[in-house]
């Protein structure tokens, strides 16, 4: 079975919102919802402890996801602490971006020598395409949130999945760019991700097939360095996982402290096949 060595720990992810979310998207690969407590939210104290571990290992960047990070009551304090040490990116569903929050985030960004980035999720360029996936009224709320970010001078990356095939076409991308421009963003940014057939998405569109597994010979030029797990780890309230995708798989957990998780990881999961075949990196 192929194994990927950790070449360097560049990217540290935090499951800062746990698996708790104010949406219950039908394609969520970890089935986040208001009642999913598989992973609980991280506290500021837990994040600070991990930041200290990360500094000793030379981590280059920090990413925050959930669940919905801004449901975490300590999220802004967590970002302030992180931005004293390095650049931070938050993956949010965009529902909790009121004008006051956006202003405070802009102040945090301006007050740090490091970059603060935001990624806002959307799954269609109309409410008719988006809301059946992400929930009734979510399109309108995300538009309002992104407009608030733009008004505060922040330029988020719109993150869409290939849940609708047209999202990833050049016409689809052009429509997303137009949507962002219409909200006052002069330099629109977009990231497109494939779906992972795990969690809610496995129920929606079907689970992985048996043949969707990596074998030793699949590594281009004998190296797995194109996979995100060669340079990242994920921290949740229950320990350290190999990557952001496998946090609902017990086998994805590889230790308690970051320094315990430098060993190679066996690519023994069909989701690893998606990362390889689609060239996925959860990084921006």
């Amino acid at each position: 079975m192929p194994a990927v060595a950790l070449a360097s720990l560049d990217t540290l992810w935090f499951q800062v919102g746990g698996t708790v979310c104010n949406l219950a998207c039908t394609h969520c690969f970890i089935s986040c919802s208001p009642t999913n407590h598989t992973h609980e939210m991280l506290t500021l104290a837990e994040v600070e402890q991990r930041l200290a571990e990360a500094a000793a290992l030379g981590v280059k960047e920090y990413y925050f996801t959930g669940g919905e990070p801004f449901l975490n009551p300590e999220m802004e304090a967590i970002l302030a602490a992180t931005l004293r040490q390095g650049p931070a990116t938050v993956l949010t569903n965009g529902l909790l971006l009121d004008a006051g929050r956006c202003r405070r985030l802009a102040e945090l960004a301006a007050g740090s020598e490091y970059s603060l980035d935001l990624r806002v999720s959307l799954d269609g360029f109309t409410a008719e395409a988006n809301d059946p996936i992400r929930g009734a009224g979510s399109f309108r709320k995300v538009m309002a949130g992104v407009a608030n970010l733009a008004a505060a001078g922040l330029n988020p990356v719109l993150t869409v999945t290939e849940v609708h095939a047209e999202n990833a076409t050049s016409e689809g991308k052009a429509r997303f760019f137009a949507l962002l421009s219409g909200l006052g963003l002069a330099k629109p940014r977009l990231k497109v991700l494939p779906v992972f057939h795990l969690g809610a998405e496995a129920e929606r569109s079907g689970a992985y097939e048996r043949w969707q597994r990596l074998a030793e010979g699949d590594a281009p030029a004998g190296s797995w360095d194109h996979l995100q797990c060669s340079s990242c780890r994920m921290v949740t309230d229950q320990g350290v996982w190999v990557c952001p995708i496998l946090v609902n798989e017990p086998a994805g957990k590889i230790g308690e402290r970051l320094a315990d998780t430098l060993d190679p990881f066996h690519l023994d999961h069909p989701a690893c096949w998606t990362c390889h075949v689609h060239g996925v990196s959860c990084r921006t």
Binding site: H37, G58, D260
Partner: protein
């Protein structure tokens, strides 16, 4: 899987190495091998620059400035080609000026006959301009110059002001890694310095200069480029002056004026994209902006 079962399975995961084995694994992971690169110098004053991008006008001005500053040595951190006109006009200037160079991704690509510059852009517009730029340089660079590029080292070490500095193109670990001020945190730089057994390092590749003193006392700088302005609305380009001073090594980023209108005229005559000409004349980048982190992008006009 029921939640309780998941938690039990997760709690049982992890490794069972002894603390000693774990410490040894960690030390092994953090330590890089000796690179065997000889140390040049020691110097009291040197000029270091990056990214010529075929800008022979700026290179000529840089060499005059280095001579005026009485620099004992001049180092170029690579990326001789791309963007500007007449690639072969750079070579004689480098040789006459006694410039010591290391390879950038451009030199690696040109010397190996690669079909692109290996910048790794994903935006189609960025790739369009990168391909134009690389194609022009590839067609107009003599085989002898390409061969010479392939003979240059990937890294050098110099001693200045009692410190040993590593010279690299992108970063000590990858020729095309972008080190921007807002995404190169101090703990990350400390580990790179420790792994490479030096008192600091100098890099280029992004086009945007910065200087950092680390808590350990190490010094790291991105020297910027002389090929095009630093996306700041000014037409000057920049280089680094390293000087042994009473208080230790000083690394200073200095502006460099050159005949940018002459460069712009040559670029138009060679039918290079008007977008590139605009950058030379306004000081703002018009392409390859995708690589900029949020902080640097926010300060950018486009």
């Amino acid at each position: 899987m029921p939640l309780e079962e998941f938690r039990q399975a997760a709690a049982a995961a992890g490794r069972t190495l002894s603390p000693g084995e774990r410490r040894a694994a960690l030390e092994g992971w953090l330590a890089a091998g000796e690179d065997g690169v000889p140390v040049e110098g020691p110097y009291r004053r040197v000029v270091v620059f990056g990214g010529v991008y075929n800008n022979h006008h700026a290179l000529a001005a840089l060499l005059e400035e280095a001579s005026r500053l009485e620099a004992e040595a001049v180092y170029c951190l690579g990326d001789l080609g791309g963007f500007g006109p007449h690639p072969d006009r750079v070579w004689p200037l480098l040789r006459e000026g006694g410039v010591a160079i290391i390879q950038g991704n451009y030199e690696q690509s040109l010397a190996s006959g690669a079909t692109d510059c290996a910048c790794g852009y994903t935006d189609p517009r960025d790739n369009h301009f990168a391909a134009l730029s690389y194609g022009y340089t590839e067609r107009h660079t003599s085989p002898e110059f390409k061969r010479w590029m392939g003979e240059q080292p990937a890294r050098r070490r110099i001693a200045v002001g009692g410190r040993e500095l590593l010279l690299v193109h992108g970063s000590p670990r990858r020729v095309n890694e972008f080190l921007f001020a807002s995404t190169a945190p101090l703990p990350f730089l400390e580990v790179l310095v420790a792994q490479n057994r030096c008192h600091g390092f100098l890099c280029t590749h992004t086009g945007l200069p910065w200087v950092r003193s680390l808590p350990s006392g190490a010094q790291v700088a991105n020297v910027g480029v002389i090929g095009r302005p630093a996306n700041n609305g000014r037409t000057e380009v920049c280089f680094a002056l390293l000087e042994a001073r009473r208080e230790g090594l000083a690394i200073e980023i200095r502006p460099l004026r050159y005949h940018f209108e002459a460069l712009a005229a040559e670029m138009r005559a060679e039918e290079l994209p008007e977008e590139f000409v605009a950058t030379v004349r306004t000081g703002w980048w018009t392409t390859c902006l995708e690589i900029l982190p949020p902080k640097e992008r926010a300060a950018s006009r486009y």
